[in-house]
């Protein structure tokens, strides 16, 4: 089995979590991935930290003593903080999620979650340009022998043109933008299909298999790896599928 959590560019992360066991667990995991983690267990302290120091990403629990995580985020956003933020919460209602995203969070992860899910989402968030001045200047995505033209909406593999359905195009685009990173099923549902819920049918897998068939036509090697139990990854460097 391969380890899906690729060692990625180190980030400076603020972690707000009042449950000591969870905090330690997350800190340990994130440090293993090479990140630098500053942990706080209380809202006001986390807010002061956010305002005083620069973080690449904020990981905030919602229900903590002092200021709750969402208020910390709102105040930080008002003060000009534009670091991507992910809320971790045991508040799992439909409205809770909406409130979180409307409150300035870039992602909302419900407890309990798989650590791999958090790591993957942090990786995807870190890649995003700071919200507000998204330029999307890049018009061509190139990963390995795959080339995607975002303006003309065309895909080529090794010079061979590939016809994709709009959803397959979006799916491939998301994978390419996160090349060499783990992309989970729920992330794809969220970002590609904009599903704010978890369907029981594995619609990601069925679409993925179509996309693979189209990409691999003519005997080309499989570039989209399945990471068992976690998700998918498109490899930038050519490597054989085990």
């Amino acid at each position: 089995m391969e380890d899906g959590n690729e060692r990625s560019d180190a980030m400076r992360i603020l972690l707000l979590e009042d449950d000591r066991e969870t905090r330690d667990y997350l800190m340990r995991g994130l440090k293993e991935l090479g990140h630098q983690v500053v942990a706080e267990s209380e809202g006001k302290a986390a807010l002061s930290r956010t305002l005083a120091e620069a973080f690449d990403i904020l990981v905030l629990d919602r229900m903590v003593p002092g200021l709750d995580g969402l208020t910390v985020l709102k105040l930080a956003r008002e003060a000009g903080c534009r670091s991507p933020a992910i809320i971790l919460s045991a508040m799992a209602g439909i409205e809770d999620r909406v409130a979180g995203l409307e409150g300035g969070a870039d992602d909302y992860l419900i407890k309990p979650f798989a650590f791999a899910e958090l790591a993957a989402r942090l990786g995807a968030l870190a890649r995003r340009p700071p919200s507000g001045d998204r330029t999307d200047a890049q018009t061509v995505l190139r990963v390995g022998d795959i080339e995607m033209d975002l303006v003309r909406r065309t895909v080529k593999r090794d010079g061979r043109s590939i016809e994709l359905q709009p959803r397959e195009f979006s799916l491939l685009e998301y994978l390419l933008r996160n090349a060499d990173r783990l992309v989970t099923r729920t992330m794809l549902l969220d970002r590609v299909w904009n599903f704010g819920f978890d369907p029981k049918t594995n619609i990601v897998e069925t679409h993925m298999s179509r996309l693979r068939t189209k990409l691999n036509e003519g005997g080309a090697e499989n570039v989209i790896r399945t990471i068992r139990g976690s998700g998918y990854m498109i490899a930038g460097r050519a490597r054989p599928q085990p």
Binding site: D19, E21, T22, Y25, M63, A90, M91, A92, G93, I94, E95, V98, I110, K111, P112, F113, A114, F115, Q165, R167, W193, F195, G196, F197, D198, P199, K200, T201, N202, I203, T206, H207, S209, R210, G229
Partner: protein
């Protein structure tokens, strides 16, 4: 006797009864006054008759003839309150004949009546008009006949006046009665509208609605205050129920999160594959349990209708098409087909919830319709209503399942062999209801057909 239950019915009944009472009183008044006036006329006739008979006895037939002639031809007449009410001021009429029936005096009574009282005797008046009279006829000792008559004209005039007064009174009473009934009805309706408006708000999930009180201390104010107190109590209970649910959710998720962390950590250090697989399965089972819990809370949340505050206009055809496209490969992979015919329509709602509803319907077909069952989705606009029909050609549902299909945790496949918790269609129904729509099982040739009706918001 049926007592009306509406204000309108009660008002009509009250007005009818008072009208009837007034009519009865009026009829009695007319009857009594009529009899009284008639008696007055009769009395006067008797008095005059007596006077004339005495005159006859004292002065003989020739003098009587002269007197009758003078009286009959006279232009002034009468005594008492009836004075001047007759035609030309005439009230009394006289006639005299001899023993052989020849007319001696009096020309206004064309036909002499038999002895005794005669009512409605035809007469002529000095001005030439005709009328009816009360008449008393007597035999004279010499065999002649004398008739004294009183014109009934006064009587009918009096009747007319009383009737007129009665009708005027009745009109005034009915008019004021109608106006006050309408005003009363309006007052009640205005207050009832306030109460029903508040109730509607509560039904729609806004537990903060209260009935306005105007401080008048009226019966309505008093009942409103009591109802408001009840609503406050309900709100408190609802809030604490929700708080408990979300507290439980939180307090359960936090320790489950720790367990999950521990198991993940253990899995990484698992000495062998069997242990790793067992741990993985345990985590999956725990996630399934949480999924059930989240599903149940989600349905309650949608039923709480708080989701409505985020409703905006949504292109329903686009949303349905999106979901159909998302599920098409899943159908294809099993060699099944999914067909959609969608008409553009706008509804007021939440895109995520509408998506979820359609997704649940398609998943229901994938899981429960049976091998090879295909799906057909149509969206049509019919008279301001968006009608979404999702039909499969699978094995359908057992008889009696129509009512239970939307209930929570109900799965109609007997061995409960299929995956899922039986929440999918409950969620669909909750979502449809939150959108003020309806969902029902409609007859179809085979399989199951569900029809959702939502208001076409594009019409407004």
């Amino acid at each position: 006797m049926i007592i009306p239950r509406t204000i309108k019915g009660l008002s009509i009944l009250t007005a009818s009864i008072s009208g009837l009472v007034i009519l009865a009183l009026g009829a009695a008044a007319i009857f009594i006054s009529h009899r009284e006036i008639e008696a007055q006329i009769d009395h006067r006739i008797e008095l005059e008759m007596d006077a004339l008979l005495e005159y006859h006895a004292a002065n003989g037939p020739a003098a009587l003839a002269r007197l009758v002639h003078v009286r009959d031809g006279g232009t002034t007449n009468g005594t008492g309150y009836l004075d001047g009410t007759g035609g030309n001021g005439r009230m009394m009429l006289y006639a005299l004949s001899d023993a052989s029936g020849n007319r001696i005096a009096g020309s206004l009574i064309p036909t002499l009546p038999p002895s005794g009282w005669t009512e409605f005797l035809p007469i002529r008046r000095p001005d030439g008009s005709t009328g009816k009279a009360q008449a008393l006829s007597r035999r004279l000792p010499d065999g002649g006949q004398i008739v004294v008559a009183g014109d009934r004209d006064a009587l009918s005039r009096a009747d007319d006046r009383i009737l007129l007064a009665l009708l005027a009174g009745l009109g005034v009473i009915l008019l004021t009665g109608t106006i006050s009934t309408i005003a009363f009805g309006r007052l009640i309706r205005r207050r009832l509208v306030l109460i029903s408006g508040t109730a509607q708000g509560i039904i729609e999930g806004d537990y903060t609605c209260r009935i306005p009180v105007d401080g008048s201390g009226s019966e309505f104010d008093r009942i409103s205050v009591i109802l408001n107190a009840m609503l406050s109590r309900i709100e408190t209970l609802m809030m604490s129920l929700r708080q408990v649910s979300s507290d439980i959710a939180h307090d359960m998720r936090t320790p489950l999160g720790r367990i999950r962390q521990d198991m993940e950590a253990l899995m990484r250090r698992a000495p062998d594959k069997v242990t790793a697989d067992t741990l993985e399965q345990t985590i999956a089972d725990m996630d399934a349990l949480l999924d059930l819990f989240t599903g149940l809370l989600g349905i309650s949340e949608v039923q709480g209708l708080a989701v409505r505050k985020r409703f905006v206009l949504q292109p329903l055809a686009e949303i349905v098409a999106d979901i159909v496209d998302a599920y098409r490969p899943a159908f294809d992979a099993e060699g099944r087909t999914i067909t959609a015919v969608l008409e553009e329509v706008t509804v007021c709602g939440d895109a995520q919830l509408l998506k979820r509803a359609v997704a649940n319907l398609l998943e229901n077909i994938l899981v429960h319709a049976g091998d090879g069952a295909s799906a057909t989705i149509t969206l049509a606009v019919e008279q301001g209503v968006a009608v979404l029909t999702v039909t499969d050609d699978g094995m359908g549902i057992p008889a009696g399942g129509k009512e239970r299909i939307f209930e929570r945790l109900v799965r109609l496949d007997p061995p409960r062999s299929k995956p899922g918790h039986g929440l999918g269609l409950s969620m669909v129904r909750a979502i449809v209801h939150a959108h003020k729509g309806t969902i029902e099982v409609v007859p179809s040739r085979s399989g199951l057909s569900l029809m959702i009706r939502l208001l076409d918001a594009g019409m407004a």
